[in-house]
């Protein structure tokens, strides 16, 4: 039986183990990929994923539909825990995104994305590739590197206002590129 995200949310809210199971089956692969990208350590990534899903189980669902999709909620939980762990590690293994010469990894078959996501990885990669390099690097430093805007400004040797502008413009461009294919199509401003 196919469960919708709403079914999963209801199940988790009812403190049902089946809800966590369904959530993991749908987004566990994504969570692991994000954690591994940030931490570059399989053991640490597995710990973070397990801690994240256990936290959802123990605290019940704090998901708020008006604050984004279930997918982005899981991503945020895992991403935040991974960044916390990255910052807390005594021996930092943070992946420093090179400022120069960043390339996008070649696409591979993405079976879980086809199920869990409304968009293929190829479409997102294309949209990211269309961003100017400095905009893409800025949002990746923030999202995967856990850098604050001040740290990014220092690293990229640009004013704080420039960092703010790059992040917003990058997200606005991605929003415009992908809006017609997302779960909740928006009116682009």
């Amino acid at each position: 039986m196919h469960l919708t995200d709403d079914d999963i949310i209801r199940s988790i809210s009812a403190h049902s183990p089946e809800g966590i199971e369904a959530l993991y089956d749908r987004y566990g692969g994504l969570a692991h990929t994000v954690a591994l990208r940030i931490l570059a350590d399989r053991g640490a990534a597995e710990d973070v994923v397990q801690e994240s899903f256990l936290a959802v189980w123990r605290r019940g669902s704090t998901f708020q539909p008006g604050r984004g999709s279930l997918r982005s909620w899981v991503c945020t939980i895992v991403r935040n825990r991974a960044i916390d762990r990255l910052r807390g590690d005594l021996h930092r293994t943070r992946l420093d995104t090179p400022i120069e010469g960043q390339t996008i990894e070649p696409a591979v078959t993405d079976p879980w994305a086809a199920v869990a996501l409304e968009l293929s990885g190829e479409e997102v990669r294309k949209a990211l590739a269309e961003l100017p390099l400095e905009q893409r690097q800025t949002i990746e430093l923030a999202y995967y590197g856990g850098y604050s805007q001040s740290e990014i400004a220092t690293k990229m040797e640009v004013p704080l206002g420039t960092v703010k502008g790059r992040v917003r413009i990058a997200l606005d461009k991605l929003r415009a590129s992908l809006a017609d294919r997302l779960e909740a199509p928006w009116q682009t401003q």
Binding site: G29, G121, V163, L171, A184
Partner: protein, 238 residues
């Protein structure tokens, strides 16, 4: 109170927050503005969704199977411990201790065959296996059977009749349940070619367990009982 920001400034902050780069000092300004602005409030969710989509560009790295197994084992263990009166606790409480030792000819013989004729030749000391009744649940009331333990309570043979056939995606998993604690999955029932008799052999000490039961589970079993209980029986005491 935080300095007020306009929509343009607030949207900068929302974008920063969506990628995790917002400074703590600016969070109050952002939240104060979005709490009352009908334009910026929905934008917050949009930016969060867009930012999370960046992960779709990553090459997927599937997690190892043990991650799911360990996670669900923990979840089910906590769920069982927290349940005020899970079905298997009600079961242990409901089965009268006096409903115990019964010798069932056919089943006892079958068990003895499987267990190698305890107490007969082979240099083994005389010991009599003990057989207990198992009965069907409300979901499968026609189920009958027995479980036969060796005298040392280190092996058991469960023999059951009347079980409904299962789809290929499911199995009947056998559980041993202590007086206090969580059920332990120990075996799967397998049927004869005609599907008339189902049997499971359990190895290992049965001393601390009071009840044997079975549920239908996905193929491969589950860390804890998730499906309907189909049968149960009291194991007596060691």
């Amino acid at each position: 109170m935080a300095d007020a920001v306009n929509c343009d400034e607030a949207q900068d902050l929302l974008a920063l927050d969506a990628v995790g780069a917002l400074e703590p000092a600016e969070r109050a300004q952002m939240e104060h503005h979005t709490a009352t602005c009908p334009t910026c409030a929905p934008l917050a969710a949009q930016y969060v969704d867009v930012a999370s989509l960046m992960s779709a560009a990553l090459e997927p790295v599937p997690p190892p199977a043990r991650l799911r197994r360990n996670l669900m084992a923990q979840v089910y263990a906590e769920a069982s411990a927290a349940a005020p009166n899970p079905w298997w606790r009600r079961l242990v409480a409901a089965i009268p201790a006096s409903r115990g030792i019964t010798v069932l000819g056919v089943a006892a013989v079958a068990a003895a065959v499987i267990l190698g004729f305890w107490g007969v030749a082979g240099g083994r000391s005389a010991s009599t296996p003990i057989t207990y009744v198992v009965s069907g649940s409300t979901s499968q009331p026609l189920v009958t059977g027995s479980v036969t333990l060796d005298s040392a309570r280190t092996e058991a043979v469960l023999t059951v009749h009347g079980l409904a056939p299962l789809p290929a995606s499911q199995v009947y998993e056998v559980w041993l349940i202590p007086a206090h604690g969580t059920p332990t999955g120990v075996a799967f029932l397998t049927s004869d070619p005609a599907g008339n008799a189902w049997t499971a052999v359990v190895n290992g000490s049965l001393d601390r367990f009071e009840t044997i039961a079975a549920t239908n589970e996905p193929v491969g079993g589950s860390p804890g009982p998730t499906g309907s209980q189909v049968l149960s029986g009291h194991l007596g005491s060691s």
